[in-house]
């Protein structure tokens, strides 16, 4: 006998056996029957109908009151059947959406990809990991003919697909600026206007832009409300916060961005990051800057790429492998 087949005979036999012995085996088979019915999209009212038929076959003299009560139950279950069918449809839809999002995430990765350039005298490491599928963080490197390095790091406040779309826009604006436009404050002012005109006011973008001159070791930078980076001075063996000021992008079309600069000496390092690093949470507590710097210090003697990856692994573990925010970290080591 095929015990799980969905038909009245099977159900009746199972029911008969159970009523006679009230045994666990029959109940286990009922469970299998129930699962199989779900796989075949059998709705609850149909199960009840089978039950009614089986009862009538087992007890031809079934009291009419019981019969009516079973019909009553059947009517009551119709809406549950509909809800169950709707659930099936929604589940299929969800699957489609998920696969669409993963395609979009791949596309985003291709669109926003940047290669880390070879700059003599500067060791660069960069990592960016989204907390969900789409990344709301972004970093980008460009070099010009005199080997100056432009570095952008940005964070959209807001996550997911809208953030990713806004990031693509930032990337294409950056790409479209003429190569002669290298001044960090000018770049941010121009981007600010693009964002102000094109992006919904509920979406904010913070951004740091730096221009490194490998000849002189100077790093000029401006920031649009972005998480401050750190400058490690090897001579003093100390980290300094790279304090800046400037409004986040897209708030006011009048915003201007002050430009700062530092000169990097041998073994100095600049750390750029997004708030996914500094607002890393352990349980209920945000970690503080000292802890972040401690971790950075632990790995910074390593080649820059290896170092950023190890720092990331450290925080990933600290957060039980569930990033709460997109995480982006860049090391520039001289």
């Amino acid at each position: 006998m095929e015990p799980y087949k969905f038909d009245v005979n099977n159900y009746r036999n199972l029911l008969k056996k159970y009523i006679a012995s009230q045994d666990e085996t029959s109940l286990y088979q009922a469970e299998q029957f129930s699962k199989l019915s779900m796989q075949h999209n059998i709705s609850p009212e149909e199960i009840i109908n089978v039950h009614i038929q089986a009862l009538k076959e087992l007890y031809p003299d079934l009291p009419v009151e019981i019969d009516s009560s079973m019909n009553f139950l059947l009517e009551t279950m119709i809406s549950y059947g509909l809800a169950y069918q709707e659930f099936q449809t929604l589940r299929e839809k969800q699957g489609e959406l998920e696969s669409e999002i993963s395609i979009a995430a791949n596309m985003q990765q291709t669109l926003l990809s940047t290669t880390i350039p070879d700059i003599v005298g500067l060791d660069i490491g960069a990592i960016s990991v989204p907390s969900h599928q789409m990344n709301g963080d972004y970093y980008h490197f460009v070099t010009d003919e005199s080997n100056n390095l432009g570095i952008a790091i940005a964070d959209v406040i807001g996550k997911g697909i809208p953030a990713a779309l806004a990031m693509s826009m930032i990337k294409y604006s950056l790409d479209s600026f003429p190569e002669t436009m290298r001044n960090p404050s000018v770049i941010l002012e121009n981007l600010n206007r693009v964002v102000e005109q094109n992006v919904d006011t509920s979406m904010f973008i913070t951004m740091f832009y730096g221009l490194f001159n490998p000849e002189t070791g100077s790093l000029q930078f401006s920031s649009a409300g972005h998480e401050p980076g750190f400058y490690y001075c090897a001579d003093k063996d100390q980290f300094f916060e790279m304090t800046t000021k400037g409004l986040v992008l897209g708030v006011s079309d009048q915003a201007t961005y002050e430009q700062f600069d530092i000169t990097m000496e041998s073994d100095d390092m600049v750390v750029l990051l997004t708030d996914g690093v500094t607002e890393c949470r352990i349980g209920e507590r945000f970690i503080d800057t000292e802890e972040v710097l401690e971790v950075i210090r632990k790995y910074m003697h390593l080649p820059a790429q290896e170092a950023v990856e190890l720092v990331y692994r450290h925080f990933e573990r600290l957060q039980d492998f569930q990033l709460r925010d997109d995480f982006t970290l860049i090391f520039l080591k001289k």
Binding site: I52, E75, I78, S79, A83
Partner: protein, 133 residues
Amino acid sequence: MITKSSVQIRKEWDIVGARQMGRNLAKELGFGTVDQARITTAISELARNIYLYADKGKVAYEKIEDMNKKGLRIVASDQGPGIHDLSKVMEDGFSTSGGLGAGLPGVKRLMDCFDIVSEPGMGTTITTIKWVR
């Protein structure tokens, strides 16, 4: 052969009348218990929509008894405000009941054929058929 009958919907009580007529016809046509329950649920949804959104209208029934097919056609019509965004309304989860499978998408699931014609300001006509299996 086609037999026609209808129920006017003006007050909530008429929904019960519409169900009753639908069930009787479904029984006569030889629908099983489960299908009877499905047909009456569909009628309820259609009649309640008329009562709630169009104020008044009617539910009409046609017994279809062809050589090879038997079925029940239900036409719910009103001269109410009409439905503006049909594709939205047919989406799962849109109905005000919060998407528990009921509403118009539910009617579509319960029945075999389903069609809406609705003109904003002119009214709504929903035609559905269930075939005897």
